[in-house]
Amino acid sequence: MIRKAVITALAVLAVVPGCTTYTARMNDTGVYYYDGEYDRAMDELDELVLSSSNEDCCLFMLERGKVRLAAGMYDSAIVDMQGAERRFDEIEGTASVGEMLSTSIVSEGSKEYHPEPHEKILLNTYLLLSYWESGDRGGAYVERNRVVRRLREYVGNFTAKDDPPLDVPFARYVTAVLYENEGMLDDARIEYDRIAKIYPDAVPWTPNSHLTEIAVLAEMGRAPVKVSREIRGYFEKVNGRTFGCFNLPGSAGQQVYPVTSSFLPGDAGLGTVFTFAFPEYVRLPRVAAYCRPVIDGVEAGTAVTLDDLEETAMEEFRRDIGTILLKSAMRTYLQLLAQNKLDGDAGKIAAVVAKVFSAVERADTRSWQTLPAEIAVFRMEVEPGSHEVSLRYYDASDRLVGESAGRQVWVGKGKKQIAWMPGPP
């Protein structure tokens, strides 16, 4: 019977997806991407897209789209990002019966990836940049309209207090520049005003449609990544209400969340401490503290912060942390209950299966990992024509720590040109 149990366990192990976390699978790609080795990053992502399960495929396509944009492969970037966007739109607000079952048993990572609100806004922002860089102004204007709609959908509902960490000023800035290019100055002003509430130094004095300008948008650092952590917790009942109590690393005291779902069966196992996998967001160290754009060989000034995407991601996660904790804990808790309820041979099988699950279970660590931690902006009036733009990166002690490759940017008379620069880690 034990042999049967082992065979069953091995079979389960074979079908359980996501034994390696998303963060681990993206490790090499991240190293290549932030080293500027786009070809190798794309090779890695080609493999990952081909070998990925349906649950992760669109996220890998999103990552590849971003790398392709950095590599100047605009049409391919559009194909990848639009493919991912289409699927994300299809599944938004829907539920899959199979996924509901699998996430109750296996892991949150066994369901299709649903992007965070800021990721959806950024998806269209990078699509806008892809169209813009490819010279398809009409396509860029359509994406501009989509970005504005997404901002309204995902940020518009927040109160003024919530705005700063959850807004995406980078998206607003890019749309404002396009509005200026079209002479729609009132629309540009609306977007700049929203940015000015968070980063007043990042916006121009006044929107205009007569100055010839370059807006350098410099990406700095890597977005935080989620890693799988084992944490301890238990459920308890107080005054008829059930609570989940957890010890989170880095948090002072115990985190207590009320269980609103009626999914918790009876009072069995209450008070029993158990260990479960939980995704923890980790900030990644940055090489550079700030950057200075070099335009036509001259260091033109210092780029100022336009968007702290690291904080946006962390804040979104903080808001959902109770739900994520309870779901992760509930899954492990139910597995333990099932194991204890079964007797005899079935119990032995359940025990082995539970151990296998415990061994392979990793928290859902998926997130868009080729995003930057921060985006800085520098805007300057230039003569119409072609200009070479590069970036010099400095650490907190003002030491030069790197320089980007130069790129040619062409600006028409009275127009604004965006010079988007993917940055170092």
């Binding site: 299809e90 607000g93 829907t94 019966v97 199979g98 396509g139 309209n145 709609r149």
Partner: protein, 199 residues
């Protein structure tokens, strides 16, 4: 025996699911699949615009003033797309142009053939071609009117429901005077709701 029957039914069901299914769709009864711009919208917009141009009758007035000639028009490169969808708006213009030519309402200058025609004419003006049989320079017909327009939308999403309002405006403008000879609009609003469960 019962188990065997259930298993057989399952196999038959799955086999049915695996079969590819294709059918022709009658364009005259084509309906929108969702709240986005679809082929039925293209037909709706172009049909209404064609009817409007026909009933406007400016081509009759033009013919009366120009010895029975039909007005010569040129299409804008595309309708200005102010929507949040990537739409090939040239298809709307092309469809209207086809109908107007077929019904003898107007003649059109092919804006897209200009470069190729110019290359050909320049080539035929060289010694490589027989002068008597070569196409002659200087016979391009200038358009009197330009057909242009814009398409915009307002989309609202609430959970699984999407409401999408479209407004399409088209004009025919006299190139000499910039006076609008004809103008009309088509508007519609559609709502669609996604199923809450997917498989």
């Amino acid at each position: 025996m019962t188990r065997l029957s259930v298993a057989l039914l399952c196999v038959l069901f799955l086999a049915g699911c695996a079969q590819e299914y294709t059918k022709e769709i009658d364009l005259s009864t084509d309906t929108a699949e969702d709240a986005d711009y679809t082929s039925s919208d293209l037909l709706l917009i172009s049909d209404e615009m064609i009817t409007s141009i026909m009933t406007n009758g400016f081509h009759h007035q033009y013919a009366a003033a120009h010895n029975g000639q039909r007005p010569v028009m040129i299409l804008a490169r595309a309708l200005e797309n102010n929507t949040d969808e990537h739409i090939d708006t040239r298809m709307i213009l092309d469809k209207i142009r086809t109908a107007l030519i077929k019904d003898g309402v107007a003649q059109f200058v092919d804006d897209k053939a200009f470069d190729q025609a110019l290359d050909q004419l320049n080539m035929q003006a060289t010694d490589l071609y027989d002068d008597t049989k070569a196409a002659k320079l200087g016979r391009f017909v200038g358009a009197h009117y330009i057909m242009r327009g814009s398409i915009g939308n307002i989309r609202k999403m609430d959970g699984r429901e999407t409401r999408n309002y479209f407004l399409i405006t088209m004009t025919i403008v006299d190139i000499e005077t910039l006076l609008i000879t004809w103008i009309d609009e088509v508007e519609y609003k559609r709502a669609s709701t996604k199923g809450s469960v997917r498989w």
